[in-house]
């Protein structure tokens, strides 16, 4: 006999109340607003979000620097991204995100290198502008093929009153390359999210004006076409942007810009010339899409390339923005890959059917991957964002079932307790969480880095996704955890 849905929902509500009990009063009141059990039909998940994390509870969140250097700017491959301040931030984020790119590292591309001004006490006391000015010249001389340099500010920069904008302007003239100052100090905002926004704004303020000027001069060396699109908010983790791009090209579109996975300075300059911006990670890149819509009249469209159903839906929605040729080709692409996806589902669904998943990730995945799990017969029983906003939680309602547990900015304590009580079969979250749950003998997949696998986007990616969920859940190692002599 199965428990009726209403009883399960009630049970989950009780779990939330119990978990909250442990908190001190003030923290309990605050955290209660971030937890909810979803009621079908509502247009919102019913949680507060994008609010300061509570001190001392072990948030999984990062900072604005991580959002700018780590996410938005870092993957732009032919520029140097300077971690400006003490050595740590650049060190910990060095090669951490698997933003794949093609290029000769250290010569014409620089993604997996760490450039830092390695602040010492004297730089904090006397200011770092002089050092920065000198450093920009050194970088430009040692890496003549770099297309530009971004200055990714760490906490001290904003606190000691350095004028990195002035240094950047002067250096641009001196070295003849773009120098982009980014005020993404880690104490700004409540999470990575403000860093995404700040980074988007620097593209608007420091890159697009150059694009406009070059367009006016006619020096962009670019012939616009009717099917030009930009692929935005795909960071090419494990090659995601490539397994997405291939579908767009197969349906007859011309992908002019990838921003920022495997992206280049030149592609950023071409972005305002496209007909449509296609955005995958809405959270981190909607700002620049909205700006291009206002300033250049370029429409934008959110899409989802996780799992065959969403991919087909997205391809059709994208094709709707173009003519019948493209629409017909989109249907051909969908038909071409259908047997592949069917084979994937036929193989893996029987192995994964009925498995229950708890999700907790960053920008778009807490909602976007749910249908991909569903196609494999799996059920997402709980989900939440590290740094989502209200609009993310609204969008999430299109993806979740009645009774799904929602947690915003979940604390280490809450996540562990929820997992103990809801007993999922798989947890899909980040590296900081991974081994906590594996010690509980719970299968786990990293959903930021794809656990060093990928791609997961597109039809080819879905096959890899299915394979990986199977190997996580059905590994025989989980059966070894309990010693046979222990009852």
């Amino acid at each position: 006999m199965t428990t009726p849905k209403s009883a399960l929902k009630e049970e989950t509500r009780k779990v939330v109340a119990e978990v909250l009990e442990t908190y001190p009063e003030k923290a309990r009141q605050k955290r209660a607003k971030h937890l909810n059990v979803y009621d079908e039909g509502k247009t919102d998940c019913g949680v507060k979000s994008n609010i300061k994390s509570i001190p001392g509870v072990m948030t999984t969140r990062g900072c604005a620097y991580a959002g700018s250097k780590g996410v938005v700017w870092g993957p732009v491959k032919d520029m140097i991204h300077l971690s400006h301040g003490p050595v740590g931030c650049g060190y910990y984020s060095w090669s951490g995100r698997r933003n794949y790119y093609v290029g000769t590292t250290g010569v014409d591309t620089f993604v997996t290198m760490q450039f830092t001004s390695d602040f010492q006490e004297r730089d904090v006391v006397f200011g770092g502008d002089k050092k920065l000015a000198k450093l920009l010249v050194e970088a430009s001389e040692l890496f003549p093929l770099a297309k530009g340099i971004t200055i990714q500010s760490e906490c001290p920069i904003g606190l000691i009153g350095d004028d990195i904008e002035a240094v950047a302007k002067k250096a641009t003239k001196e070295i003849g390359k773009a120098v982009v100052p980014v005020r993404c100090e880690g104490f700004r905002g409540v999470s990575q999210s403000l860093g995404h926004h700040i980074a988007n704004d620097t593209v608007r303020d420091w890159v697009l004006p150059i694009a406009d000027k070059r367009a006016k001069e006619g020096s962009l060396n670019f012939e616009p076409g009717p099917y030009d699109v930009a692929l935005i908010g795909d960071y090419n983790i494990g090659g995601d942007a490539w397994s997405s791009r291939i579908l767009l090209e197969e349906m007859g579109l011309r992908v002019v810009t990838q921003f920022s996975g495997d992206g280049t300075w030149n592609e950023m300059l071409l972005a305002p010339r496209v007909k449509l911006n296609l955005i995958h990670c809405y959270r981190s890149m909607n700002y620049i899409c909205r700006h291009m819509e206002e300033a250049y009249g370029i429409p934008w469209l959110e899409f989802n390339f996780f799992g065959p159903t969403q991919i087909a839906k997205s391809l059709r929605a994208i094709a709707q923005r173009f003519d019948e040729t493209i629409q017909a080709k989109a249907e051909q692409v969908i038909a071409k890959y259908q047997p592949q996806s069917e084979a994937v589902i036929a193989k893996y669904r029987p192995r994964l059917e009925g498995k229950r998943v708890m999700l907790m990730v960053g920008g778009l995945r807490p909602r976007h991957v749910i249908p991909a799990f569903r196609e494999l017969g799996m059920e997402v029983i709980a989900t939440g964002y590290e740094f989502g906003h209200g609009d993310d939680y609204k969008r999430t309602t299109q993806y979740i079932d009645d009774g799904t547990l929602i947690y915003d900015d979940v604390s280490g304590y809450e996540f562990e307790e929820f997992a103990k009580r809801l007993k999922p079969d798989l947890i899909a979250s980040g590296i900081k969480e991974k081994y906590v749950f594996q010690k509980m003998a719970l299968p786990f997949r990293q959903m930021h880095s794809w656990d060093y696998s990928g791609p997961y986007h597109g039809y080819d990616g879905f096959a890899v996704f299915a394979r990986d969920m199977d190997l996580a859940l059905n590994s025989p190692t989980w059966t070894l955890v309990k010693a046979p002599w222990k009852s």
């Binding site: 442990t22 072990m58 984020s93 450039f115 592949q340």
Partner: protein
């Protein structure tokens, strides 16, 4: 080519398919790449002596440094104590980074909390965050001790930890007698090893304060330092067990960073019991295995205990010999016969493999004490250190390293490059090539660029599994190090002789 359901291709093979290769070619038309010849020309130029000179003229820019910042070392030290929650006062992103970094290396959970300071705290100070943070952390995670350190944000605005923590106690956020050692750990001073020292000193001075000196308890303290080989801590315990000498490890994070999977997650596995650590001033003596990681802690212990503080590096045969003899002299106990047998086995292995290592030119980088240990090992094997890069160097280390190198005929060709980074090392390796590189995972980029085989020793190691579970100390550790060194060279000998009918006459079965 569709995915073959029997052999689904991930990134490693998928993107080599012709469709994707064509896609990448097509993408290039929008990239405004420099011409291929230009890329090739610049790539060659970066290998030249001219580039090396330019590279070494850098005064402001650091590229690929081999050092992290203070709080990473601080929370690493804190995790070695029973029931201790590392607590970092400042911006929250730092803690996300530290936990990620340590977790990627050890493949273990790492718990630490932040006071999540933001703009308002930057203006008004972080007192409120600290009080609230202590109350929440204490209530939720039920630690026996909270070890507080700082990020650079809190340091730049000048938050006064001591006063803040007192206020937190007065306001009832934590009990009055609850231990909250604290250390200021600005990331713009020193490196992760400095943070280790500051935190350990703070913890020991806090814990010993109510106990003080009450007379010898016969223990020997050992401070491992920022030692990421959990096998080392177990090896130290084993060696002391064989001697029959009571040991206090300050601190012991071996169970925390190499914990068994029995189906239960424990937030604070193992660790040096607080009561035991509190007795550390009553030990007979203290050994530090990382002299340059622990200067302030050693100074504190020397002053507060009045007992000898010694440094040792039980790396390789001679390093271990020396440590065992020091320990034997200090305690009057003979060196156990088991260790003599282990020594014999390790020496046997050294003589078996030496021909493949003798005269091999080696580049290495890492923390100062790690570098010292490796140099000693290489010299006793007859290998020739050439480039020694230590980003978080100090003068005393450089003097000691130079003296060691000068004392051996195999050390004559070596240069110690204090304060340099891995981009400097790249120039060194191109202009003065070597046979072998020793370093952390980041060395793989140098391997790719210069073709020099890499032995992964150090921190972090993200791309190979389980090395941290092995000891590198003692005779057993010497055997592990030898194994990694010689078998990397033998792999390389195979790789270099693998082309059929061209080089494969040297593709020997017996080596």
């Amino acid at each position: 080519m569709p995915q073959d359901i029997q052999g689904i291709k991930d990134h490693a093979r998928l993107f080599q398919d012709p469709e994707y290769q064509a896609l990448l070619q097509c993408k290039q038309t929008f990239e405004d790449r420099p011409p291929l010849e230009e890329v090739a020309r610049v790539a060659e130029w970066t290998k030249s002596w001219e580039y090396r000179e330019k590279n070494f003229q850098r005064e402001a820019l650091t590229i690929n440094p081999a050092k992290a910042c203070q709080p990473l070392g601080a929370i690493f030290a804190a995790a070695g104590f029973e029931g201790t929650l590392p607590f970092v006062h400042g911006s929250q992103g730092c803690v996300a980074y530290f936990r990620t970094h340590l977790t990627r290396h050890f493949k273990e959970p790492f718990s630490a909390v932040s006071t999540s300071m933001t703009e308002d705290a930057a203006v008004f100070g972080g007192l409120k965050n600290l009080i609230e943070g202590l109350e929440n952390a204490y209530t939720l995670y039920k630690p026996k001790m909270i070890a507080v350190c700082t990020t650079c944000m809190a340091e730049v605005i000048g938050d006064d930890l001591g006063a803040f923590i007192t206020t937190a106690r007065n306001e009832g956020a934590i009990p009055r007698d609850f231990p909250v050692p604290y250390a200021h750990t600005p990331s713009f001073v020193g490196s992760h090893i400095t943070g280790y020292d500051n935190m350990l000193k703070a913890i020991l001075s806090t814990l010993t304060e109510p106990v003080g000196r009450t007379g010898s308890n016969g223990h020997i303290n050992v401070i491992p330092g920022f030692d990421t080989y959990m096998g080392n801590l177990r090896e130290i315990k084993r060696i002391f067990g064989l001697f029959g000498i009571p040991l206090t490890l300050l601190a012991d994070n071996s169970d925390y960073l190499d914990s068994p999977n029995d189906g239960t997650f424990r937030m604070y596995p193992g660790g040096t019991p607080l009561e035991v650590a509190a007795q550390c001033l009553n030990a007979e003596a203290t050994f530090s295995f990382q002299r340059y990681t622990t200067p302030k802690t050693l100074e504190f212990l020397a002053e507060a205990s009045g007992r000898p503080t010694l440094t040792a590096r039980p790396v390789g045969i001679r390093g271990t010999d020396e440590f065992l003899m020091q320990l034997s002299r200090l305690t009057g106990r003979p060196i156990p016969p088991e260790l003599e047998i282990e020594r014999g086995r390790a020496v046997d292995a050294f003589t078996d493999s030496q021909a493949w290592i003798h005269g091999k030119r080696v580049a290495l980088y890492g923390d100062p004490d790690l570098a010292m240990g490796l140099l000693s090992l290489l010299l006793e094997l007859g290998a020739e250190p050439v480039h020694v890069v230590v980003t978080n160097s100090n003068e005393e280390f450089e003097t000691e390293a130079r003296a060691l190198l000068a004392s051996s005929p195999y050390g004559q060709g070596a240069t110690v490059w204090g304060g340099k980074d891995l981009w400097h090392l790249r120039s060194l390796m191109f202009t003065e090539p070597v046979d072998l590189l020793i370093g952390n995972s980041y060395g793989k980029y140098l391997w790719r660029d210069t073709g020099t085989p890499l032995v992964r020793i150090g921190y972090p190691i993200f791309d190979r599994h389980h090395l941290h579970r092995y000891p590198t100390y003692g005779y057993v550790g010497a055997l592990n190090l030898l194994n990694w060194l010689v078998n990397t060279l033998l792999d390389e000998a195979d790789r270099r002789s693998i082309t059929p009918s061209k080089t494969d006459f040297s593709f020997d079965l017996i080596r």
